[in-house]
């Protein structure tokens, strides 16, 4: 029955016809049966996984805010009013804001120039995206402490340059995500034509960058900023190993001697993560392709 001389090309053509036919049937079916229901197994899987993911948060809230008999917000107020919490949060905010500004100010012009003029360097910059995996924070911490630690001739940790060390470390940790966010935005607009049009109207390169390029990649800059900020806010490894008392480091210490207040502050930390991701998701809705999860071991 089947033609023995049928060629691979004909088979492929035949398959394409079948797929097209199935597509047509499907469209017709969708028109008649508009509301298809979710299969039971999918609902069950989603409900069970919701329980798994919410349980630790619920248990944290119970541990922190329940005395066994009644509900109280006192540990949360204690935590928020605690001097150690406020100092460590201020330190975290300081490093996160400075890292974000530094990262945007350095990466945005660099990414623009790579796109416009230094395409040859692209491969080198693509390597950045795998950096968090090859050099995760624990390895970067060892490297930084070997080079700038107490036993090094270039002892930054015990000098007034100490803040620069952590900022530099956070720059390296966040640069892959920020570069990717800005680079995606740059590739979505025609950088070359925009720059040449701007130059032909008499604008210098700096003016072109600030007045033409920056406004057209603003969503990429916002998502890069959010990624840098949330990464630095939650960063524990570098801060702990190099000796900076940031919020996550304080969170670990306070749980050792004041567990209820500590668990209340875990809720605060969760809210910070939540706010960052919600903001990123809002940006992603307007600019598809925005990366929400930074990935890489922490």
């Amino acid at each position: 029955m089947s033609n023995p001389s049928i060629t691979g090309e004909a088979t492929e053509e035949y398959l394409a016809t079948v797929v097209a036919g199935a597509e047509a049937v499907r469209k017709a079916r969708r028109r008649t049966n508009r509301r298809s229901r979710a299969p039971t197994w999918a609902t069950v899987v989603l409900l069970v996984s919701a329980v798994y993911f919410l349980l630790p948060l619920y248990a944290t809230a119970v541990f922190a805010l329940s005395t066994g008999k009644h509900f109280t917000l006192q540990p949360l107020f204690d935590g928020l009013g605690d001097d150690g919490f406020q100092t460590s949060l201020q330190l975290s905010l300081f490093y996160s804001i400075v890292t974000t500004i530094l990262c945007l100010a350095v990466v945005a012009p660099t990414a623009y120039l790579v796109e416009l003029r230094f395409q040859r360097l692209r491969a080198t910059f693509e390597f950045l995206t795998i950096l968090p995996f090859v050099i995760p924070p624990i390895i970067l911490a060892v490297g930084l402490s070997a080079m700038y630690g107490i036993n090094s001739p270039v002892n930054l940790i015990a000098s007034s340059w100490a803040p620069v060390l952590l900022m530099g470390g956070y720059f390296v940790l966040t640069v892959p995500f920020v570069f990717r966010a800005i680079d995606n935005a740059l590739r979505a607009v025609d950088v070359r034509t925009l720059s040449e049009a701007s130059a032909s109207l008499g604008a210098g390169p700096t003016r072109t960058f600030l007045r033409v390029i920056v406004p057209s990649i603003s969503l990429g800059l916002v998502s890069g900023a959010l990624l840098a900020f949330t990464t630095a806010m939650g960063e524990f490894t570098l801060a702990a190993l190099l000796g900076y008392a940031t919020f996550p480091v304080y969170l670990l210490n306070v749980n050792g001697y004041e567990p209820r207040m500590g668990e209340a502050l875990v809720l605060v930390s969760f809210l910070i993560t939540w706010a960052g991701v919600i903001a990123l998701a809002a940006v992603a809705r307007r600019a598809p392709g925005t990366q929400i999860v930074r990935g890489g071991p922490m």
Binding site: L15, V18, V19, G21, A22, E23, R26, S36, A38, A42, L46, S49, A50, F53, L55, P56, A59, T60, V62, F63, T110, L113, L131, F133, I135, P136, I138, I139, A141, V142, G143, S145, A146, M147, Y148, S152, V172, V175, E196, A199, S200, L201, F236, A240, P248, L252, N255, G262, V266, F270, T273, W274, I278, A281, I292, V293, G295, G296, P297, M298
Partner: protein
């Protein structure tokens, strides 16, 4: 008309030329930061791994852990933990991702994606304490199970064991798998299945001949991602155990921060071992991604 267009071209090329010298200069801040806080520390780490930390003489003893079975225990534990959490994370994550796709509700998809992003970012010290409140010796779930006659802790369970850590790591491994596998699963067209049905294929035959071959590459690639993520993770493990578990990242931190076990040279050598494992995973992933199937191309 003609004169204005040639004027534009002349203007553009002058602008590009004018950019030339200054452009290279504008890359300088990026180059300086990466050199100071990534390249130099990495080189110093490599140098340190081949030199005695006290005398500064060349030595290979820092790498002696490769010869002694006892010194390889952290590697064995990290390997076991990463393998277990990768298997758990990938199986459950794939199931949830398929459930999200099958639910066919845009709202469910949006909530599930956002929540996966939050959970995938919620790692480190806060996650550790959320699980202590859940499955610790005094945790909510532990006490609830005890009341219904199941004594986890007398049954040999410990949250800070490899098994306990696997459950905790799954909290971010599962949502990471969901986020990585959602795009390829969404790219699977229902008409492919219908075409297979029209050609007389059974459900199993469809899976074997269509779905599995197409999804194999992204699946293996995400296994490598999950594995590397678990292997290099430090903050969560440290938050749970305060350093009393023999994993590679914990061992490294004990060697640069510990009072008794202080030995930066050995920390450098262990860090190199860790980097090699991470590079193998991520290199494998890069090779797989290069041969991504044409069916999944957008």
């Amino acid at each position: 008309m003609r004169s204005s267009s040639s004027g534009t071209l002349a203007g553009a090329s002058t602008a590009a030329r004018r950019l030339g010298g200054r452009a290279a200069l504008a890359l300088l801040p990026f180059a300086v930061l990466i050199t100071a806080f990534l390249l130099v520390p990495t080189l110093s780490l490599i140098w340190g791994s081949f030199h005695d930390s006290k005398t500064g003489a060349f030595t290979l003893t820092n790498y002696s852990y490769l010869q002694h079975p006892l010194d390889l225990v952290p590697f064995a534990n990290s390997l076991e933990l990463s393998l277990a959490s990768t298997i758990l994370g990938s199986v459950v994550g794939l199931l949830i991702a398929q459930a999200i796709v099958s639910s066919r509700r845009p709202l469910v998809q949006e909530i599930a994606t956002t929540f996966s992003s939050v959970a995938a970012n919620f790692a480190g010290v806060p996650l550790a304490f959320a699980f202590i409140a859940t499955l610790g010796a005094n945790g909510l779930l532990t006490r609830t199970l005890l009341n219904s006659g199941i004594d986890l802790y007398s049954g040999g369970f410990k949250l800070y064991s490899v098994l306990g850590l696997t459950i905790v790591y799954a909290y971010w491994e599962i949502p990471l798998m969901v986020l990585v596998m959602l795009p390829p699963l969404q790219a699977m067209k229902p008409s492919w299945r219908e075409a297979a049905e029209i050609l007389g294929a059974s459900r199993w035959r469809y899976l074997r001949s269509v779905a599995i071959p197409i999804l194999m590459t992204p699946f293996i690639s995400s296994l490598l991602l999950l594995y590397a993520n678990a292997f290099g993770a430090y903050a969560t493990a440290y938050g749970l155990t305060t350093g009393f578990v023999a994993l590679v990242p914990i061992e490294i931190s004990n060697l640069i921060n510990g009072d008794v076990s202080y030995d930066p040279g050995q920390a450098d050598a262990l860090a190199i071992g860790l980097a090699v494992i991470m590079a193998v995973c991520i290199g494998g992933r890069a090779i797989l991604e290069r041969r991504s199937t044409r069916w999944l191309a957008p």
